[in-house]
Symmetry: C2
Subunit: 398 residues, 2 copies
Amino acid sequence: MRVEILCTGDEILTGKTINTNYSHIARRLGEVGLDVIWGTTVGDDRASLLAAFARAGERADAVIVNGGLGPTVDDLSQEAAAEACGVKLVLSDYWMQRMTESYARRGRIMPANNRKQAMLPEGAEFIDNPIGTACGFAVTIGKARFFFTPGVPREMRRMLDEQVIPRLLKLGGIAGVTRLKRFHSFGIGESRADEMLAGIPGLAIDGEIKLGFQAHFPELETKLAARGATEAELDAKLAPVEAEVRRRLGNFVVAEDESSLEQVVVEKLKAGGHTLAIGETFTSGAIASRLAPLPGAEAVFRKGVIAGDVAAGRLRTESGASHALAVLMQLDPGGDRPDFGATITVQIADPGGMVQRVARLVGGREWVRTGATELGLDCLRRHLLGLPVDERIDFERR
Amino acid sequence: MRVEILCTGDEILTGKTINTNYSHIARRLGEVGLDVIWGTTVGDDRASLLAAFARAGERADAVIVNGGLGPTVDDLSQEAAAEACGVKLVLSDYWMQRMTESYARRGRIMPANNRKQAMLPEGAEFIDNPIGTACGFAVTIGKARFFFTPGVPREMRRMLDEQVIPRLLKLGGIAGVTRLKRFHSFGIGESRADEMLAGIPGLAIDGEIKLGFQAHFPELETKLAARGATEAELDAKLAPVEAEVRRRLGNFVVAEDESSLEQVVVEKLKAGGHTLAIGETFTSGAIASRLAPLPGAEAVFRKGVIAGDVAAGRLRTESGASHALAVLMQLDPGGDRPDFGATITVQIADPGGMVQRVARLVGGREWVRTGATELGLDCLRRHLLGLPVDERIDFERR
């Protein structure tokens, strides 16, 4: 199955909007085992759209078109699709009714120009959009099946997962269900994680369970993409592999799936009936601002202090919190540069006493600051979970 | 001049890396008056590259190819370009020497595989890269001139501005020099800014001085792109328009060009010999973390406190700072939702007394938090500059 992604719209073509829809679609397709072979971007221009449809219909088996389904005159996807198919646009009574009802539920009258969104190429396959007024549709142009999706990211994402990917898998003769399992880690780079996971049966970049990494400093995301005949089969296939990945990445895993390091810390503090004060120097509030605004954090977060001379013991006493985290940084002298570094001291005080961890990070002011923020939160996570806080991380320089 | 942007590389094609190079190139070309008509993305694959070159050579006058100039075997741009031109690759002695010297200056020996980066299609025009080992080059394929640029963003950006854009302008018969003037504002939306700037002679989306906006909440960037025969002519042409834009956007302009709101605040505090303490509630350190890490802020920033009950007057006294900024937030009850709002109280205390400003923002937890962070910093800027702190902003709900 050769898939092309065709993004439309002047905002994308001119670079005014960064094309995150493209990367999302491409990543999701890769995760379910579909190969993206080409990407095309054109503006809101009829001739360009027709040319792009013709080219894509020659080289791909399936094409995902994104954007151009809105109610305004510059949204041309339905018209261009009808022209490319040599058919006329016809009104979908079903979609008109759905849109009208949706407006009515919110006590509003549907604007007249929304009617345009119910005009589909004659004979097109209707694709549902449960959360917006731009329905999707599919037609065949050349040798490829074209799937038209809305440009609004949350509508596109849901339609892609629920409607388009199942159709693509069917089209490609790929049966069953898919799942994506994610591990978030701190302290190991992509190549080291790859080594740590080597040799797990069935787990590889081209294995039965597809292994992938995405590094966004300071964290690394390890992804397992799996396909099975049924959910039960997926469970059975994934469970031992997940357990083995969890075991091998060990203490470096800070969270899984939709959770995050800061969320894990808040939950653990809450479960223990603890409260927290945070003291920061050069991170300047970056640690507190990741943790304190989380839902549920109000029960836990007591106080934050940003100053040159924070200390966890004193902070704990003064704030009345059961736990205090202090992250001190001794910056290298001189201006910013690629080998600019800092020596970071993390202190955690609790009713049992105090632990301390010193690390040196190098890589420029912003890099060091981001690393120190993550290191502070991760030391607290480790301490709360009874794990060693002084395990060496890949980013350290000695 | 019809320009196509052709991005290469598996990381981009598969969505692993978000294609910010594309949007940067497209935006810069638009700013100097060049029209991007097509975008193509292909992987590190010889057949795809050749097909993409052929197509682009049919529909465009100029093509910017990005990526594939590295030293490893999956970097295929030079080879594919030579094949498309029907010529062989030849060694650039000049570039070999430049690379060797560059390594030698850092006390290192050039790895053997870097030699690949000095192999250019015979007859290609050499394009300099002063900050990397991937030189650029230009060849003609079909009816278009192709400019090959490196994938490393900072190398691409510099080569684009210094080498490629001047060549494109010459190719398109567009003479002279270009300049981009930027205004950063807070408190006005794109459509209101557009209204405020209506009717300035020569300033329009399609005018002699091209007007553009880029909204990235909470700020709006207003851009003036101008072209002139000489720098002096540009100065003369832009000066009155810049002054008029500055006058009309007035107090809403928080910074210009490379500067930022927080930098303006730090500079103003420093110039006055002031020091600052910051008190935050739900912004949880986000305000301090924008200001305190700036170069020069260490002379100004005295202390930050994150707690439920901050007050500027008390904070000023306790910290010993000359100025204190406190941002308090009363959040709506209930979970996150699109109409989740907060009432924000900004207090500024200084030796002259205290000013206070109350605003209500609505738009979800993160949105409100981002808005309150900007509002707090902007009130401080306004206060330091003697401007009214209570001017109504577009984001407010009453």
